[in-house]
Symmetry: C2
Subunit: 234 residues, 2 copies
Amino acid sequence: MTRQLKNDIYGVYHLSPPAELNDIKTTVIRPATEKHIKKYLHQEVYLIQESGEDYKNITLPFIESQSFSIQWVYNILEKKAEADRIVYENSDPDNGFILLPDFKWNQKQVEDLYLIAISQKKGIKSLRDLTADHLPLLRNILKEGTEAILKRYGLRGNQLRIYLHYQPSYYHLHVHFTALGHDAPGITVERAHLLYDVIQNLEMDSRYYETRMLTYALREDEALLKSFKEAGKC
Amino acid sequence: MTRQLKNDIYGVYHLSPPAELNDIKTTVIRPATEKHIKKYLHQEVYLIQESGEDYKNITLPFIESQSFSIQWVYNILEKKAEADRIVYENSDPDNGFILLPDFKWNQKQVEDLYLIAISQKKGIKSLRDLTADHLPLLRNILKEGTEAILKRYGLRGNQLRIYLHYQPSYYHLHVHFTALGHDAPGITVERAHLLYDVIQNLEMDSRYYETRMLTYALREDEALLKSFKEAGKC
């Protein structure tokens, strides 16, 4: 341990922890696509204001032109992978979901608890596709997901941040559950949408997410940003 | 290195990095006062779902019972303090504001740019008090604040995160401007409300913030949490 500076009661030190206190958990993606690599590089970010029309004219054609594989999601839904990791399942094909730990969580402590609820129903790409028809699904995820987390991990609903991303990183509906005190990635106001608010908005107006201006950030190298620039919208 | 799981192209591994790749910087405070210890102690946080009725019955009486001094805000508005720090002013008593750098920003680089717009008009406590009558004020802050930041610091509107806090840390209307790439405190979905969304909501319904269920987090030691607990709402 070496000291770098000392001022009154404050000191800054450098040290190397012993191996047993220093287990590093890492995720390997192999083979990684260009998109995987870009996800982890530092990039300038720009705010997009996407109207319902912009979604139809720019974002939806972009999503449909991409072939970002969600085979791994289907593997989970079909029990071809990670079946032993499932924390809770509601098997209803329309209003059911599978709840399991996110890869980022090692499941050893609840302080950084992170689970994902994945819709059984395919074809709901994101927040933009949600209507009042999906309220039973969303309410199941909220109620049963919260109950399953209390039962398994002992955290109550008021200790959880439950939210969707827009844009999501994959276009199959899923909901994030993180410990409220955990500074998880993607919980900022320009990306996360609280499930409570999503339900409240759809109760008020079934077409809320079809018509609403949604604001989000895109990194300089994201192909969707290029589409907005080409459309003169950024 | 040991493998924990494998699904399609994704694998999770555990490893111990060599010492030369694993220098840890730490701050030591010695002796530490009670106040130092409390600052670094983990506080449990709880989510509150505050209805319009809860605001009237619990939160508003709490705010009114506190003697949160906002003299420092009035000092700025009356040019008794920080007059030399003002970046932009619209002096209209109803729809004007003063824009100045937040104390957290050293103004040396735009990567962590942080400014605050403070309403000239007194008595607008928070988001909850906003109605369609305040749209001219909010639109001025958005338009003129963004223009002033472009002129002085060179960042465009799509490189800024512009938002209000609920709960705010002081009950005089103010709007935060931070660099979009800056991971500033208080930008999480359970605290920040994008000004674009606030304007959109008030355009849709003048009573939106009077009636809406608003979700936010409170720390275990916050007095407002006690009020919610006493009301059996937490």
